[in-house]
C-alpha cells in the first residue's frame, strides 16, 4: 500500500514539473552576461542596457521573442539563458532530483514495510517484571 502511495506522490511531483513553468517564457529568460547572473531587466550595467536596446530594435523590426533569444544564444552561448534548455546533457539537471526522490521514496517505502513486518513478528521483549516497573515509575512520574 505504502509503495503505491509513494508512487502516486512522485507522479504528483512529476506532473507539477511537466506543466509549464510559472515564469513567463521568452525574453524574460535572458540574464545579463556581465557575470552578475541577474535577470536582464534587473542588472544596471552597460551590457544589460545595450542588450535592452538591441531587443527593442529587433522587436520593432517585428522579430518574435524566440528569434531574439536565439540571436543572443548564438552570440553569448547558452549561459545567457536563466536556466539551461531541457535537452541533451542539460536534461540531467532537470530530471535527476526527481529520479532520486523517486528512488528515495521507493527505498523508504520498502524500509517501512520491513520494519512493520519485523514489529509484527514475535520478539523477545523485555520481561513482564521490568515492564511493570517501568509502568509503575511512569505513573509516579505523571502524578
Amino acid at each position: 500500500m505504502r509503495l503505491r502511495v509513494a508512487v502516486t506522490f512522485v507522479l504528483f511531483l512529476w506532473a507539477s514539473y511537466l506543466l509549464p513553468p510559472v515564469a513567463a517564457q521568452g525574453i524574460e529568460e535572458l540574464i545579463c552576461p556581465c557575470g552578475c547572473t541577474m535577470a536582464l531587466n534587473s542588472c544596471e550595467c552597460v551590457t544589460a542596457e545595450e542588450m535592452q536596446g538591441v531587443i527593442q530594435e529587433r522587436l520593432d523590426q517585428g522579430q518574435s521573442s524566440p528569434q531574439i533569444v536565439r540571436y543572443f544564444v548564438d552570440l553569448y552561448g547558452e549561459r545567457v539563458l536563466a536556466a539551461p534548455p531541457k535537452q541533451g546533457f542539460n536534461l540531467t539537471v532537470w530530471v535527476l532530483p526527481f529520479i532520486l526522490l523517486a528512488l528515495g521514496g521507493g527505498g523508504v517505502a520498502l524500509l517501512l514495510r520491513r520494519w512493520v513486518v519485523e514489529a509484527e513478528a514475535p520478539q523477545p521483549g523485555p520481561s513482564d517484571e521490568y515492564e511493570a516497573r517501568v509502568e509503575q515509575e511512569l505513573r509516579e512520574w505523571d502524578s
Partner: protein, 661 residues
C-alpha cells in the same frame, strides 16, 4: 596592539594543535591529567583569539590604516558602526570571526560538560582540529592583521552595498549558525570514536543544533531583507549560489531536528542522524567555500581568493574521516528498527526527511551543475531562478503540505477515528477557503493549490492549539490567555514547533504571492508626468540633490495616488559614492500587509527627466512576519524547560548507562 594580536593568533594556532592532540591522547590512553591540560588549552585559545579579535576591532575603530585590512575596507568618513562591521566585510576578517566564534563555542562546550569524561575529550579534539584548520588559513594565507610597509592617508572605504544595517547583522548571524553546527558534529564524531552511540549525544547537542538553526534562519532572513531593500532589483531571493549555499545546511539541519526526535523516542535511525549531522557541518563549510572561492559566478563575488583548494582538501579530509568511522562502527549502530504501523508519526517523519533531502539535493545540484556541465559539454550555462522555481517549487509545496499532515498523525499508530477527527475540520476549512479564493478571482491553478495547502496547514495548527486550550480550560478553568501560556509551558518543544510551522506557512504565503503576482512597469517621465500600475498612479514631481559625507545623492519626488486620493510621497534615490565606480540605487518601498509598492530610480537624464521602475510585490510583508513568528517559535522551543532538565541530568543518564554496562 596589532603585534600583540598577531602574536595571540600564532600562539592560538600552536595551542589548538597541542590541545587537539592532548585531548585525543588523554582519552585513548586514559590519562586524566592530559584532559585537564586540554581543557586549559581550550580556555587559552578562547582568550587568545579574543585578544586577536579585539586587536582588529581596535584597529578598525581607530582607523589604523597601516593594517592592510583596515585600509582596504574602511575610510576616515565611515561611521563608527560600519567601521566596526567592516570586521566581516572582507575575507580575512570573516575567517577570524569564524575562528573566534568556534573558540568561544568550544569554551562553552567545555564549561557545560566539564564533568564528562566520556565524550568530552574527543569533542575537544575535533573542535580544536577544526580550529586548527581555520587558524592555519588566518595566519598563513589571509592574515587580517597584516601590516603595510607604508601608512596610507585614508582607506579605500567600504563597498556602498554593504553600508546597510542588514549587513551589520546578516554575516555574523549566518556565521553563528555555520559555526554552531560544528558542535553537534564534534559530538557525533565523539560518539563514533567512543562507541557511545545511544541518544546521549543527541540530547546533549539538541539545544546547540536548534540555536545554530535559529541563527542560520535569522542570517538567511536578514540576507533576504538586505537584498530586498539594498540591491534594488525588487526581489529578496535570487537563487544565487551563495544564497543556496546557506540554504543547504539549513535544509539538512531541519531534517536532522525532526529525525533526531525519532532517535530520542524510539532509538531508531542512528546512522541516518549521524550522517545528517555530518552532512550539515560539511555543507556549512561548503557554504564558506562557495562564498570564498569564487568558483561559481555569483553576485556575492566580494572576494575571489585562492582559498578554494584548502577548503576542498578540508572537506575531503572530514568526509573521509567520518565515513571511515561510520563504516567501522556500523555493526554497533544496528538499531531495532520496528514500527507499529505504517500510518504513524514515525513514517511521516521519514517522508519529511526524504523531501527535505530532495530539496537540498535539487538546490545543490543546480548550484554545482554549471561546473559539471562545463566539464562535460565544454559550454558555459547558467542555472537560475526558473530552474529552482520549477523544480524546488513543487518539492517545497509538498513539504508544506507535510507540515500540516505530520502533527495530525499520532506516534506509533494512528487509528482511523483519530485520523478522521483530526483531518475533517482542517480539510473542510481549507476547501471553503479554496472556494473563497476562487470566487475572489484567482484562476491560476498553481496559486489556488498553494493557497489551499497553506490554509489546510494553518487550520491544522490552529485546531491543534484550540484543542489544547479547550482541554486546559475544561481541566483547570483557565481563561484563554492563561490557558495559552500554560499550554506553551507544558510542552515548549511541541508548541514552539507548531509556532515555527505557523511561521513557515505565513512565509510560504508571502513567497507564493510575490512570485506569482509580481507586477512590473518601467517608465521614462518628465516632471509632471504620470505612470500607472494596477490601482496606483504615480506623478513625478522632480529631482533634487544633496550631498552626504561620502556621496552625492539624486532624489526623485513622486506622489502616489490611488482612486484620486493622495496616498504617500515616495523618494527613490540614486547615490554616487566617492569610492564606487557605478552609482547605487536606494529604493523606496511602501509596505502594507496586502502588497509592497517598490520604486526604483533606474536612471536620470540631463534635462531633469528620469526613468523609474515600479514594482508591485504582493504579500511580501508576510515573509518578514512569518520569519519573525518562526524565530519566536524557535525561542520558545529552545528555552530551558525545568521538567525536561530534571529528566535528563547528564550525570543521571551516565550512571544508568554505566550501571547497565
Amino acid at each position: 596592539m596589532i603585534d600583540l594580536g598577531y602574536l595571540a593568533l600564532l600562539l592560538a594556532l600552536v595551542i589548538s594543535i597541542y590541545t587537539a592532540l592532548a585531548a585525543f591522547l588523554s582519552r585513548r590512553f586514559d590519562y586524566p591529567q592530559l584532559l585537564a591540560s586540554a581543557k586549559n588549552g581550550v580556555y587559552s585559545v578562547g582568550g587568545l583569539l579574543t585578544i586577536a579579535t579585539l586587536a582588529l576591532v581596535y584597529a578598525l575603530v581607530t582607523h589604523d590604516f597601516q593594517v592592510e585590512y583596515v585600509a582596504s575596507y574602511t575610510s576616515l568618513d565611515l561611521p563608527l558602526f560600519y567601521a566596526f562591521s567592516a570586521f566581516w566585510a572582507g575575507q580575512a576578517g570573516s575567517l577570524l570571526l569564524w575562528a573566534w566564534l568556534l573558540a568561544l563555542f568550544s569554551l562553552i562546550v567545555v564549561l557545560q560538560n566539564r564533568r564528562d569524561q566520556e565524550l568530552l575529550p574527543y569533542v575537544i579534539s575535533i573542535l580544536m582540529g577544526i580550529e586548527t584548520f581555520f587558524l592555519v588559513l588566518v595566519t598563513m594565507t589571509t592574515n587580517p592583521l597584516h601590516r603595510l610597509d607604508f601608512l596610507p592617508s585614508d582607506g579605500q572605504g567600504m563597498n556602498p552595498l554593504l553600508q546597510n544595517p542588514g549587513m551589520i547583522f546578516h554575516p555574523p548571524a549566518t556565521y553563528l549558525g555555520y559555526v554552531g553546527f560544528a558542535v553537534p558534529f564534534a559530538f557525533a564524531m565523539a560518539a563514533l570514536l567512543t562507541g557511545r552511540l545511544d541518544e546521549v549525544w543527541i540530547r546533549t547537542t539538541r539545544r546547540w543544533t536548534l540555536l545554530s538553526w535559529l541563527f542560520l534562519s535569522i542570517g538567511i532572513g536578514l540576507g533576504a531583507q538586505w537584498a530586498y531593500v539594498e540591491l534594488g532589483w525588487g526581489g529578496y531571493w535570487a537563487w544565487d549560489p551563495v544564497e543556496n549555499a546557506s540554504l543547504l545546511p539549513w535544509l539538512t539541519a531541519t531534517a536532522f531536528l525532526h529525525s533526531a526526535m525519532i532517535q530520542e523516542r524510539r532509538g531508531m535511525l542512528k546512522v541516518w542522524n549521524l550522517a545528517l549531522v555530518a552532512l550539515t557541518f560539511l555543507l556549512s563549510i561548503f557554504g564558506t567555500f562557495i562564498t570564498r572561492s569564487g568558483i561559481i559566478e555569483s553576485v556575492h563575488s566580494f572576494g575571489v581568493s585562492t582559498l578554494g583548494p584548502y577548503f576542498l582538501a578540508f572537506l575531503g579530509l572530514v568526509s573521509v574521516a567520518f565515513l571511515f568511522l561510520l563504516f567501522d562502527r556500523l555493526p554497533s549502530l544496528r538499531s531495532e528498527n520496528t514500527l507499529d504501523s505504517l500510518l504513524s508519526r514515525e513514517s511521516t517523519f521519514l517522508l519529511n526527511n526524504l523531501i527535505l533531502l530532495g530539496a537540498a539535493f535539487a538546490t545543490f545540484w543546480g548550484t554545482i551543475f554549471p561546473i559539471v556541465s562545463e566539464a562535460v559539454t565544454g559550454s558555459k550555462i547558467t542555472v537560475g531562478a526558473p530552474f529552482y522555481n520549477q523544480v524546488n517549487g513543487p518539492i517545497f509545496l509538498t513539504l508544506v503540505l507535510l507540515v500540516g499532515i505530520c502533527p495530525l498523525i499520532s506516534w506509533r499508530r494512528a487509528s482511523k477515528e483519530n485520523l478522521l477527527r483530526n483531518f475533517s475540520y482542517p480539510l473542510f476549512a481549507s476547501l471553503a477557503f479554496a472556494g473563497f479564493v476562487l470566487l475572489s478571482g484567482v484562476r491560476e491553478w498553481y496559486a489556488l493549490l498553494s493557497f489551499t495547502v497553506c490554509a489546510f496547514v494553518m487550520a491544522t495548527i490552529l485546531s491543534e492549539f484550540y484543542r489544547g486550550l479547550r482541554a486546559r480550560r475544561r481541566l483547570h478553568g483557565d481563561n484563554y490567555f492563561l490557558a495559552f501560556i500554560n499550554l506553551l509551558q507544558r510542552n515548549r518543544r511541541r508548541h514552539g514547533g507548531y509556532i515555527v510551522h505557523l511561521g513557515v506557512v505565513l512565509l510560504t504565503i508571502g513567497v507564493v504571492g510575490s512570485t506569482l503576482y509580481k507586477a512590473e512597469r518601467e517608465a521614462h517621465l518628465n516632471p509632471g508626468e504620470r505612470v500607472s500600475l494596477e490601482s496606483y498612479s504615480l506623478e513625478f514631481q522632480g529631482l533634487s540633490q544633496y550631498t552626504a559625507r561620502d556621496r552625492m545623492v539624486l532624489r526623485a519626488n513622486l506622489e502616489v495616488y490611488r482612486g484620486g486620493r493622495l496616498l504617500a510621497t515616495m523618494t527613490p534615490e540614486r547615490a554616487f559614492y566617492r569610492n564606487a565606480p557605478e552609482p547605487t540605487t536606494e529604493v523606496d518601498i511602501r509596505t502594507t500587509l496586502k502588497e509592497d509598492l517598490y520604486l526604483i530610480l533606474a536612471g536620470v537624464s540631463e534635462d531633469g527627466s528620469a526613468t523609474f521602475k515600479v514594482i508591485i510585490n504582493p504579500l511580501v510583508a508576510w515573509i518578514w512576519v512569518g520569519g519573525m513568528v518562526l524565530i519566536g517559535g524557535t525561542v520558545i522551543a529552545v528555552w530551558p524547560d525545568p521538567r525536561e532538565e530534571r529528566l535528563w541530568v547528564p550525570g543521571f543518564t551516565r550512571e544508568v548507562v554505566t550501571s547497565e554496562a
